[in-house]
Structure formats: structure tokens, C-alpha cells
Amino acid sequence: MVFGICHAQNQGENAGDYKKRVLETAEIDILSSYYSQDGNNAAVTGGLGTEELTDFTGTFVVSIPINDDDVLTVDAGISAYTSASSSNINPFDKGFADPFIAASGASQSDTWFNLTGNYSHSSDDRNSIWSGKLSFSTEYDYTSLGFGGSYTRLFNEKNTELGFSANVFLDKWKVIYPYELRPFAPGGRGLNDFLFIENTITGNPDYNPSFTVLTDENRNSYSFGVGLSQILSKNIQGAFLADFVLQQGLLSTPFQRVYFSDVADSFIDNFHLADDIERLPDSRFKVALGGRLNFFINEYLVVRSYYRYYFDDWGINSNTLSIEVPVKIAEKFTLYPSYRFYNQKAADYFAPYNEHLSTSQFYTSDYDLSDYNANQFGFGINYTNIIMKQHKLKVGLKSIDLRYNYYKRNTGLSAGIITAGFKFVVD
């Protein structure tokens, strides 16, 4: 966002001549998206099971000029999802238990709320920008409190921009375990639990997982970012971005199952009873290095390119490459075809369904941490009302964006996301 504000300031050159407001009028952005995915490698069911999930998100972003130099941005979002895999935290609540069939329990859906406030201040010469941010988000089993700040300095006649940012997130889990493991927690009734009395265990009837409960319910994240952008010519500009993130605490997901190849398998109906939950180290250090290069080809065509290299101390490294080619087809309309490639090497602790060993210290069958590559194809259209003649109630529609992206992994997961954005300005 800071880079976006700086860009706006570039338009007001020769700041020494007069002091242009950082933001002329209040702006309101309304965003909504519908996301749908499907696959057969759900982490909740140990790497084998339905990944069907839908999510609807609505977001309001209001930017208010407090004075010539300061801008307050308030960002409020709500996201409602239904997840077949999450429903299988308890697959025994109704009917036939099967990892490829969604259960009907409370965990099949949830709602996420987010509120973020950001305050930015620009110096009189518009060459320095400070900002502070506070955020809070919550869902049934997770809350997150975040705060941070950034400083950006423009120099070389606003051709060069150097920015630093730091953020802290203090998160807390409400730990939920797979249903069949709960009787084996301290104080549980083991195989005398009602679950095992009411249902017949097939395969190994002496189901006895070596399950211990988690002791840490917090997850803290500390990030530091550096950004350097440079105008290279009248038609080219680029940026280098680096983020360093340290995470500590409970970094696994408590309701994700793991199955061991050296433990006899037990089932209720078609559902494989968990040998343990996912176990991962309590620390992770991530480094992301990225670059953007944008080319203004002519008044009809722009090329936006992006590359990122990522690695962490869990053994993952990845490459992200994307290109977007905005094509102005009319004064008010622009088309946005895009392509994105992503690949990653698996975490050291990943193995597919039923391939872990019980002697290991850490293990996961979450395919989000597996070896894979993904292709994404996108298309969008933008309508921008430059003159904004049709103001009603002192609010004018400035632009409309519609996007569709299709995402496909070579592991089988596919997803589609439709987004719509409306920008209004307030007189």
C-alpha cells in the first residue's frame, strides 16, 4: 500500500512548488470473491480424502484523508466457508464414515472476520512516509492480533524508493483434535468410549494410538521487509522485494491426521482411524526474494512481470513466475490476461498417506507442503470512469474490476476464484 501511495505522489511532482494532498478525497473499495476448490489429498484425513471447499469473501476498504499529509485506511472483511475435509474432523456424526464423503458436523463451515486499521503520514516534501498498522482477525478455532509499521524514503527526484516494514502477529489456537483421538487424551476412556462401543472397528481391532496432547496453543510471527523500486526509463520501472519471517509456537494444524506404515490399520466403516496428528517443529524461518519489472509498451499495452524465490528451514524452496498483459481496448476498458507458474520442493517432514514411520519426530501429510507445481490462468476486465459525471449522494463510481482465475496443481487439486472490485470516491 505504501508503494501505491508513493506512486500517487509521483504524479504530483515539484512538491516544492505547492503541497498536494496525499489523497484528495475519501475512497471506498468494495471487494468480493467466490472461491471453489476440489482435490483428493485432504490433510484432515491424512493425505487421502476430499478437499472440496467453497469460500465467499466480502471486504470494505475505506481510505480517508485526515489532512493534507495523513491518510487513515480501515479495512473490514468477512469470509464464510464450507469445507468437506474440515467436516471430517468428526466423520462419525451421521451415516457412513468415509474420507471422500463430507460429514455434517459443526466443523463443516466457519466464518472469519477481520478488521485492520492503517495510518500513514507523509512529509511536506512527500519524500518520506511513515505508517502504522493494527489488525485483528478471528474464526472459531483461531484468533490473530497483528501490529506493525513501515518507513519509505523517496530520493533521486522520486525515481528511487526505499522502504522498510516490520510486522508482528500474535495468534492463538483453540485446539481441536480428530474425533477418534480424543478418547486417548488424558482422562479419556480409550476403547471404552461411546464411539468405539457404538461402532465396530475393522482391520486391527486393538486400536491404541500413541497420542499426546499439544502443550503450546500460540503461534507468533515476526516479519521484516525491504523494498527498493527504481524508475529505469520513461517506460520501465522495477522493484526488488525481500521478506524475512520467523514463526514460533504451534505451527502444525491440530486436526490434521497422520497414518504410519509401521502401525496396523484400524477402520470404522471406510474411515481409517488416525495414528497421530500432524507434528511439526515449533520454529520456522522463511525468506522470500522477489522482483517486479513493468514495461509500458505503448498506450494500448503494458507488460507486468514478477518473479519470487522462496526458501525456509523446513526444506521447502519454491519459484513463482507471473506475467500480466493489460490491454487497453477502449478509453474506459482494459483487459487483463495473465499467467502464473508456481513450483515447490516438499518440506522435509512430508510424506503421502500411510507412508510415515512412527519413529519419526515430525510428520505431515498436508499436500500444501508437498512437492508440486501449479499453473494459473486468469482473465479480467476493468472499467474506469475517469470523469465520473454520475455522482449520486456525493459518491461517484470510479472503477469496476472483474477477474476469474483457474488454478491447477499436478497433484490433482484444482481451484477457481471469481473476484469483483468496485471503487467509489466521495466528494
Binding site: 504524479q11 475435509s85 525515481n159 495468534d171 521487509g225 519471517v245 521447502i316 500444501d368 477477474r403 473476484t419
Partner: protein, 70 residues
């Protein structure tokens, strides 16, 4: 190979840091599609990537907070 490409891409940025394009020459640079940040309408796409992929950061998106567990 990829690292070399990135390194090569960074060279012109460093070498041209002394070049100053004047304000009146920035008409094309100031085109909204030339912004060096992701567009707001792409934010939910970036969030979905941060849930489904291990890599985060260096894209202007969030670098922490939230479980991303669904």
C-alpha cells in the same frame, strides 16, 4: 539457472540508479497498470495462494497471521 536470471534482472536496476526521469516525463510510468504493487482486486487471490502454497512474502501480501488451515 533461475538465480542467474534474477541476478541478471537486478543488474539494470542497480546500474540505472543514477538515472533520473523528470516529473514531466513520467506520464507512462504513472499509468495505473505500471504500479509496482498488486492491485487491490487481486488481494483475495494472493490470500488464497498464501493458504495453498508454502511460499509467502515478497509480493506485498501478508506474511503472517491466520492459520490458513482450510
Amino acid at each position: 539457472m533461475i538465480k542467474k536470471i534474477v541476478f541478471a534482472a537486478c543488474i539494470p536496476i542497480v546500474l540505472s540508479s543514477c538515472v533520473a526521469v523528470k516529473g514531466y516525463e513520467k506520464v507512462n510510468i504513472n499509468d495505473p497498470d505500471m504500479e509496482l504493487s498488486e492491485k487491490l482486486c487481486d488481494r483475495n487471490i494472493t490470500i488464497f495462494h498464501s493458504y495453498r502454497e508454502a511460499a509467502v512474502g515478497a509480493n506485498g501480501g501478508k506474511t503472517g497471521g491466520g492459520c490458513g488451515c482450510n
